[in-house]
Amino acid sequence: MEKLLHVEDLNIEFHDHLIPETVVFDFDLDMECGEIVGLVGESGSGKSMSALAIAGLLSRHDMKKRGTIRFEGKDILDCPRSELRDLQGDEICMIFQEPLTSLNPVKKIGWQVEESLKIHTQMTPLERKERALKALADVELDDPERVYDSYPHELSGGMRQRVMIAAATIGNPKLLIADEPTTALDVTVQSQIVELLKKINKEKNTAILFISHDLSLVSQLCHRVLVMKNGYVVEAGDVKTIFESPKEEYTKKLISAIPKCEKVKDDTDDIENMVEVRDVCVSFTRKNGRKKETVDVLKHVSIDIREGEILGLVGESGCGKSTLAKTIIGLQKPDSGTITQKYPNTQMIFQDPYGSLNPARKVGLIMEEPIRNLTDMSPEDRRRLAEEMITKVGLGVEYLSRYPSELSGGQRQRVCIATALMLRPRLIIADEPVSALDVTIQAEVLKLMDKLHKDMGISFLFISHDLRVVHQMCDRILVMKSGVIVEQGYRSEIYEHPKHEYTKELLKSAGLTNISV
C-alpha cells in the first residue's frame, strides 16, 4: 500500500546569497496514516525548512530542492502549482508557532476558519458557518458564536492557537504539520494544546508531524522521533528507545539539557532576610468603554528574600509575577504595604534579550549606561569595569565593541546579565530569563547564573513558568496565582508534597507528577 508521506534524500539549498547554502541534507521520512512523528532540534537545525518543504510552502525562486517528497504517491516537488494548491489546506494543513501573527489581523475569526472550505468545497455560506462553529466547539472553545465574530486581537494566546487548530482541521486533513505550536504559550496552555492534538489524532486518525525543541512535550505526544542537527537527521526511532538509550552525543546533550529534577539539600534556614515585602497591594485601573474597572494584581503579598538564596517564583502569565518584581525594584509603586531592602542597586534582567538591548548602541556603551547615570566614575574606570564584567559572563572583551545585532540570543542574555552586574548588586531579579532561548543555550545561561551565585554570592529572584528550570535552580519556591502567593516552601516540599490544588495542577501540566527522588 502507498505510504501517506514518503520523503527521500531531501536536500534544500538557499540561493539568495552569492554562495549557495545547504540547510537540509539527505532528509528521509516515512509516515503512515494516524501516526504522530516528532521532529526535534535547535533553531536553525533545518526542521522548519523540511516541514515547510513537505507542505509545499518554500518559495520556489530562492530555494533549490532535490530529492523526493511524495504525498499519497503525488510528487510535491514536481507537481504543477495548481495540483499542489488542491492538497494545501485540504489534505495537508499547518499550524504555526505564533498564533497572533499567523492570523490575519483585519479579518474575523469565522472568515479565517472557513477559508479552506471556501477554497476546496462547494458548500454554501450557511453550511460553512455551521461547520466552522462545530470546528470551534471541537477545539474546546467556549462560546463558539462569540469567537466566530471576533477578531484575533480580542482572543488570548491559547484561544488563538485553538482557532488555528480549528482552521487547520476543519477539512479533516490526512496530515497536520504543527510547527512549534506551543512554544509561544504558557505551560498549562501548552499541555492543553498537546492533549487537543492527541484527541484529534485519535478521533480523526490524522497523522501529525510535530516540530518542537521541547523534548518533554515530544515524549508526551509522539510515537516516533527524528532528531536534527545542522541540517542532518542524526538519530531516528521510537520515542521510548530514543529517550531511554540515545546513541548520538547530540541527542544525549538535548536530553540532558531538559532541566532535571535532582535532589539538592534544603539548608537555607536561619539566614537573614535581604528583602522583606509586607502586605503589598497593587491594582490597576483599566478603562473599559466609559466604565473604569479596578484590577487587583497583587493582593496582600508578603514575601522574604533571604541572603544568598535563589528564590523561585512560579505561576501562569498574568498572575502578577512581573508586577511583584517591578514593585520590589521600585518601577511600580505599591498601593499599600512596605518593602524593605537591605542593599541598594538591585538589578533586573528580562525575558527578551532581543528587545531589551538598544540596537543602535555598542555593547560597551550599553553596559556602561547604569554607571554613567548613577555614579561619577571616570570613563577609564567604567571601561575597566565593563571589561571585568563581560569576562565574568564568559564573553571576550572584543564583544564590547559589537552591536547587539551581531550577537546570538544566548550572548545577548549574557550581555544583559553583565550589565546587571555593573552596579555590583547583591540581588538580581531575573524575569523569565531563559524562556526565549533554545534549550541548550538555556542550560548554558542557567549554568552561568549558578556560577555567579556561587562565586559572587549574588542572590536571585528567579521568575519562570517552567517548573523544571525552577526545580533545577531554586532553593525555595513561591507559587503565585491571581495576585496571591498560594504556596511557598523548600523545593522538596513543593515538588514532592504540594499542598495547594494549583501547585498540583502546575506540576501535572509540566509532567512532574511522579518525581523520583
Binding site: 507542505a55 510552502l57 494548491r85 488542491d86 492538497l87 494545501q88 489546506g89 485540504d90 494543513c93 499547518m94 504555526f96 505564533e98 501573527t101 499567523s102 492570523l103 490575519n104 489581523p105 483585519v106 479579518k107 477559508e115 479552506s116 477554497i119 476546496h120 477578531y151 486581537h153 488555528m164 482552521a167 468603554g289
Partner: protein, 312 residues
C-alpha cells in the same frame, strides 16, 4: 457611531481653538489696517475715525465674540480693501479651489494605487524596476515646477490646452474640467509618487508576515493572498498618508493657481495679505483649517472601518 460622534466633537473644539489663535494673532501683529488703507499722509484724526468706523478701537474679546457669532452664520465681515462682504468675495472662488484639490486627490489615487499594487505584485521584475525609477524622479519634482513642465509639454508643444485659458464652469463644464485636468495633474504627480512608494513598501512588508504563509498553507492562489489578505492590511498606513496629502493639497492648489492663472482662493489670499485685508485672510485660513480637520476626520473614520484594532 459613538466613535464618530466623539471624533466630530473633538474636531469642533479644535476649530474653535484655531479660530481664537488666528484672530488673536492677526490683532497682535504689527501693521495698522487703517494706515494701509489711507496712506502715510493721513492725519491722526482721520485714522482714528476710520479705526472707530472699522471697529478696531473696541476690546479684543468683544471683537472676537462678535466675529465668531457672525462667522458661525457664514458671515466673515467686510473686506477692508473692497466694499464687499468677505463671504461674497470668497463664495465663487472657493468651489474652484476645492475642485482643484479634489480633482488632484482623485488623480493621485487613480495613478498611485494601481501602479503601487502592480509594482509590488511584480516585485523584482523589470517592470517593477522601471516603475521605481520613474517614481523616484517624479517624487523629486516640486508641484510648481511640474506645473511649468506640464504647461510647456501639454500646453505649448502638444497644444492639448491653452495656457492661461481658464474657462468658468458656467460657460462650459466640459472645457472647465478639461482645463483643470492639467493643474490637478501638476499637484497630483509628486504626491502620487509618495503614495505609490508607501503602498509598495507596505505591501512588500506584508509579504513576509506569518498570516500570508498561513493563507498559502490553505491552498489560496497568489492573487487571492495578495488581494484578499494583504491589500487591506497594507492600506492602513497608506490611508494615514492620504489624509495628510489631502490637507497638503490645498496649499499646493494656492501655488498652482498662480502658475496656471486660475482665479481661485490663492490669488485673493496673496493680494489680501499684501493689503493687510485681515478679514479676508482670516476667513481663508479658517477655510483651510476646516479642510484639514475634515480630512483628518475622514481618515479616522475610514481607519476605524478598515482596522478592527482601533479602539473607541
Amino acid at each position: 457611531m459613538k466613535y464618530v460622534l466623539k471624533k466630530v466633537l473633538s474636531c469642533i473644539i479644535t476649530l474653535f481653538i484655531v479660530s481664537l489663535l488666528v484672530f488673536v494673532a492677526f490683532s497682535l501683529i504689527p501693521g495698522d489696517p487703517a494706515l494701509s488703507r489711507l496712506g502715510t499722509n493721513a492725519t491722526e484724526a482721520a485714522l482714528a475715525s476710520l479705526r472707530h468706523q472699522m471697529g478696531l478701537d473696541r476690546p479684543l474679546a468683544v471683537r472676537y465674540f462678535e466675529w465668531l457669532a457672525s462667522a458661525i452664520r457664514g458671515d466673515f465681515g467686510k473686506s477692508y480693501s473692497y466694499s464687499m462682504t468677505v463671504t461674497s468675495m470668497i463664495a465663487d472662488k472657493l468651489p474652484i479651489t476645492l475642485t482643484l484639490m479634489l480633482y488632484s486627490m482623485v488623480l493621485m489615487v487613480i495613478i498611485s494605487v494601481p501602479l503601487g499594487v502592480y509594482a509590488s505584485y511584480k516585485e523584482g521584475t523589470a517592470i517593477d524596476k522601471v516603475i521605481q525609477i520613474i517614481n523616484q524622479i517624479t517624487m523629486a519634482i516640486p508641484p510648481f515646477f511640474s506645473g511649468i513642465l506640464i504647461t510647456l509639454i501639454f500646453g505649448m508643444t502638444l497644444k492639448m490646452f491653452t495656457p492661461g485659458g481658464f474657462v468658468s464652469v458656467k460657460i462650459s463644464p466640459s472645457r472647465f474640467f478639461g482645463f483643470m485636468f492639467f493643474p490637478s495633474l501638476a499637484i497630483a504627480l509628486p504626491k502620487s509618487a509618495m503614495v505609490l512608494n508607501l503602498l509598495y513598501s507596505s505591501l512588500n512588508a506584508e509579504k513576509k508576515k506569518d498570516y500570508v504563509r498561513t493563507a498559502y498553507s490553505r491552498g489560496n492562489k497568489s492573487k487571492t493572498v495578495f488581494f484578499g489578505h494583504m491589500l487591506k492590511n497594507a492600506s492602513i498606513p497608506t490611508i494615514t498618508f492620504l489624509g495628510m496629502a489631502l490637507a497638503d493639497m490645498i496649499a499646493g492648489s494656492i501655488i498652482i493657481e498662480q502658475v496656471f492663472g486660475i482665479p481661485g482662493l490663492g490669488r485673493i489670499l496673496l493680494t489680501s495679505i499684501q493689503n493687510r485685508d485681515y478679514p479676508v485672510v482670516i476667513a481663508i485660513i479658517m477655510l483651510i483649517a476646516c479642510v484639514v480637520i475634515v480630512s483628518n476626520l475622514l481618515v479616522d473614520i475610514i481607519y476605524k472601518l478598515v482596522d478592527p484594532r482601533v479602539k473607541d
